[in-house]
Every structure is written in structure tokens, then in C-alpha cells.
Symmetry: C2
């Protein structure tokens, strides 16, 4: 069972495609307006190379998204508190949601592009499953809202990329204000928030 290593040019092209796609999605307004031919041209690569490496448009965007997501995923799975394991749930839940929010803010072009494919519901992806399961398990360890499963869905829904992008771009909410508002909402849901 010999795992064949990819050729040098293949690896180089893959990296070039990632860089080009990231840049194009970042600077263009609507993700729809970035075509596969655009990405190929910007990466200095033939169109077929894109499809061979990633299958289809959705595959390319997904691969890029997952690559950018990996650091956060690592920090959550094996990093230090307050994000990593071993943190008390009432602390870890807000930390986790804050991390998700920041990621969505920093990578909204990618998140919007990913949902914009229209191909698959964002809820059937593997990474959503991961976030939801972790959050649900943490919520179950906190005396508070009874329905941990739905609460986890609802909290994650408050960090949806298009909502975040709307508040940040259309309504001009600064980053830290959004973080505060989400933290405050989370506290309310957990029952640890101040009531007026």
C-alpha cells in the first residue's frame, strides 16, 4: 500500500490556486462573480487543473474554507484554555462562540462563497456537525436551558456568516461591538447574564 507522493508542480499549483482564489473572493463583492476561469487565470493554471484537483467549484471552496478553519479547529481540540478541552463549560461555551464569530468575520468572503454554491445545505457539512456536537455536549453539562440540542443550533445560527457580514458591512458594526453583543446574548441564554 504505497501512498504515491504528488509531483512538485502539482503541489505548487495547488498552493497557487488557494492563494489566487482567496484573493479573488476577498476583493470581489459577490462570490458569484468569481468564475472558475478567473481563478485559473489568476493562478496561472489551466482550468482543467482546478477541476482535477478539487472536483468541482464547491470542492475548491470547501477545501479552501477547511484549510483556513484548521487553526481554530486545532485550538479547540487540543489547545490551551479557554478554547481547548479541560475548560469549565460555562467558560468554554462563550469562548467557542467568540472564536466562531471571529473566524466568520475574518473569512466572511469564504463563508459566503461556500454557502453561495447553493449545492448543499450548510447543515449537512461535516464541520457544522462537529461544532454542533461539541457545543451540545458542553451545554448538557451546564445547568440552564433544558434543550441542549436546539440551543446549540440556535446559538450557532446567531453566528451565521451572512448575518455577521450584514451587521459588519451593511450596518457598520465594529468587530468588538459584535463580539460583546454575541457574548451578552450567550450569557442570557446560559442564564449567567445580567438582567435589567
Amino acid at each position: 500500500m504505497t501512498e504515491r507522493r504528488p509531483r512538485k508542480d502539482a503541489a505548487r499549483n495547488r498552493a497557487a490556486v488557494f492563494a489566487a482564489a482567496d484573493a479573488l473572493f476577498a476583493e470581489c463583492q459577490s462570490p458569484q462573480s468569481v468564475t472558475m476561469a478567473d481563478i485559473a487565470a489568476a493562478a496561472g493554471v489551466g482550468k482543467a487543473t482546478l477541476f482535477r484537483a478539487f472536483g468541482d467549484r464547491t470542492g475548491l471552496i470547501r477545501a479552501l474554507y477547511e484549510a483556513r478553519l484548521e487553526p481554530i479547529r486545532n485550538a479547540v481540540e487540543e489547545g490551551p484554555p479557554p478554547l481547548g478541552p479541560g475548560t469549565p463549560p460555562p467558560v468554554r461555551v462563550p469562548a467557542l462562540l467568540d472564536a466562531v464569530l471571529c473566524f466568520k468575520l475574518d473569512n466572511r468572503h469564504l463563508a459566503l462563497a461556500l454557502e453561495g454554491t447553493g449545492a448543499d445545505s450548510p447543515y449537512r457539512t461535516e464541520h457544522y456537525e462537529r461544532w454542533h456536537t461539541l457545543l451540545r455536549e458542553l451545554l448538557e453539562q451546564i445547568p440552564g436551558p433544558a434543550d441542549a440540542d436546539f440551543t446549540a443550533h440556535a446559538l450557532l445560527a446567531a453566528t451565521r456568516a451572512d448575518l455577521v457580514a450584514y451587521l459588519a458591512d451593511e450596518r457598520g458594526a465594529p468587530r468588538d461591538e459584535l463580539r460583546d453583543r454575541l457574548a451578552s446574548f450567550t450569557a442570557t441564554v446560559l442564564g449567567t447574564g445580567a438582567r435589567q
Copy 2:
């Protein structure tokens, strides 16, 4: 200022298109797989008629969505309690969210088709603005969560069509269970919920 009445055949065709589109979106799995030519054929109408009447694909879906939404909108704006005005906010807020949820459940094919256009963020639509403003104003009259604006966004996010469709179809949650879970979450956020 004489408002020109549309011709008889124009009105008939418009109705036929609505019916055909509704049926097609309801029976097809992915809204993407319903093409404009399909709708035109099913309605017994030329393709150009669709575009003349509705501008483009998004316009057609939006018109259909708004038409189906109108009864609920009416019930909220001038109907009897608990949905209509004159209801105490702590009662009206859950009623409103329940109505939204039921609408999204009954018309998820349309809601998904509308978002699937990818053209415009669901947050820049006029009807979202309406729901959000009303909900925010009601929340401001309830002693509870401080940030009425964000809370309104978060509560509406919990009724997003793709989340609802995922829970109902993929996870097989029955209608009344979903309504209960959303009601319970709403109660938690409002501070009127039972804590375990």
C-alpha cells in the same frame, strides 16, 4: 393618473405561473434543478412571459414568496391577538416566532429557493427588515435581555429556513416538536422559561 388595468390573459398567465412554480419547487428536491424553462412549460407559457412579468428568476421567486407570506403579514399587522397588535409583548413575541416558524415549515421549498438564488443576502430584503423591526420594538418593551436589536436578529436566525428544513427533513423532527423547542428557547431568552 390612470392606472392601466392588465389584460385578462396577462392576469391568467400570472396565476398559472405562480401555480406551476409553486408545484415544481414543492416536488423537486433541489430548487436549483427547477429551471425557468421548466416553469414556463409547466405553466403553458413562453419563457419570455416569465421574464417580462417578473424581471428575472429572483423576482419570480420573491413575488411568489411574498404572495404566500401576505396572510401572515396581515394577521400580524391587523389581526386579532395573540398575533395582532394590542397583544402584550411577552405573549406576542412567542406567537410571532411561532407563526414565522410555521410559515417556514409550510413553505420551505420557497424559502430555500429564495435563498438559493444567491443573488441577495436574505438580510437585505424588505420583509426581513419588517420582522426584525417589529420584533425589536416588542423586545424593548419587555424587561429582559438588554440588547433588543441583536436579540431580535438571533431569535429570527433560529427560524432560518435551511435550519428548519434540516431539522424537519434530515433529522425527522415533527412539526409540533419543533414548535415546542423554539417556544422553549424563546422563553429562555425572554427570561420567562423554566430552568432545570
